[in-house]
């Protein structure tokens, strides 16, 4: 049976609880659901920000996320995956990204969700621009994010 997966890129906000419920409703084989929501913080390096604007590469973003969802499904016994990534202008306190994974036991759901977030940070074609004090600046990539993604390479499924 193929694993039910949902991948959406959208300007609008999302309802994390409703998305998780869609994956678990009516099923008794799922013993674990992990939901991760990334939220826009109101400050950067101690200075208040007005908003983030996310640019993406339409087409490639969906394809790149799909490739990593397929890899997650191959590596761990997950029973469902939902990834929603917003683009456009996002104000502090608003949600940016959602990853939901389900499995029979928690280890696979936690691992798959973390793997997907690490890859979304470094391989999915999205770029954040931060607005603060009237100026807009592109956010620099973090080495710690690259290191987090690299640790999944060549690592066997647990």
């Amino acid at each position: 049976m193929t694993t039910p997966t949902t991948i959406r890129l959208q300007r609008e906000t999302f309802d994390a609880a409703a998305e998780a419920a869609k994956l678990t409703r009516g099923r008794t084989d799922i013993g674990a659901v992990v939901t991760f929501t990334g939220i826009c913080r109101g400050d950067e390096a101690g200075e208040p920000i007005a908003a983030l604007t996310l640019e993406h590469y339409p087409g490639m973003a969906e394809e790149e996320i799909t490739r990593h969802v397929e890899e997650a499904c191959a590596r761990w016994p997950v029973l469902g995956v939902t990834v929603i990534h917003r683009y456009g202008r996002i104000a502090p306190g608003e949600d940016i990204v959602l990853v939901v994974t389900t499995s029979s036991h928690r280890a696979a759901a936690f691992a798959a969700a973390e793997f997907l977030m690490d890859y979304l940070k470094t391989r999915a074609p999205f770029w954040k621009q931060v607005e603060k004090a009237g100026a807009k600046n592109w956010v620099a990539a973090k080495e710690s994010d690259d290191a987090a993604a690299d640790r999944w390479r060549g690592k066997a499924a647990e």
Binding site: V97, W127, W138, V139
Partner: protein
């Protein structure tokens, strides 16, 4: 061949995409960046630090030594900051 630019590469070049006639002798993504950098001030600025710029051929990540002959669309962009 369609070339697309994203984030600060797009801002520096001053356009999101363009069609180019690939000159003879340009075989790889890295050589294409070298050629683009010589097209004017805005391109020189966009491609001044080529080591940090990432590329995709037909919406798949590639390295600078990737061959481009069969490509329909090549994109250049900074390291990604999604999630």
């Amino acid at each position: 061949m369609k070339i697309r630019y994203f984030a600060w590469v797009r801002e520096r070049v001053g356009k999101p995409e363009e069609e180019i006639e690939l000159p003879a002798g340009i075989a790889t993504v890295g050589e294409l960046m070298d050629w683009l950098a010589g097209r004017g001030e805005e391109y020189a600025y966009a491609f001044e630090n080529r080591k940090v710029i990432r590329a995709a051929i037909d919406r798949t990540h590639v390295r600078p030594d990737a061959p481009i002959r069969a490509a329909r669309e090549i994109a250049f962009f900074p390291p990604m900051t999604g999630g």
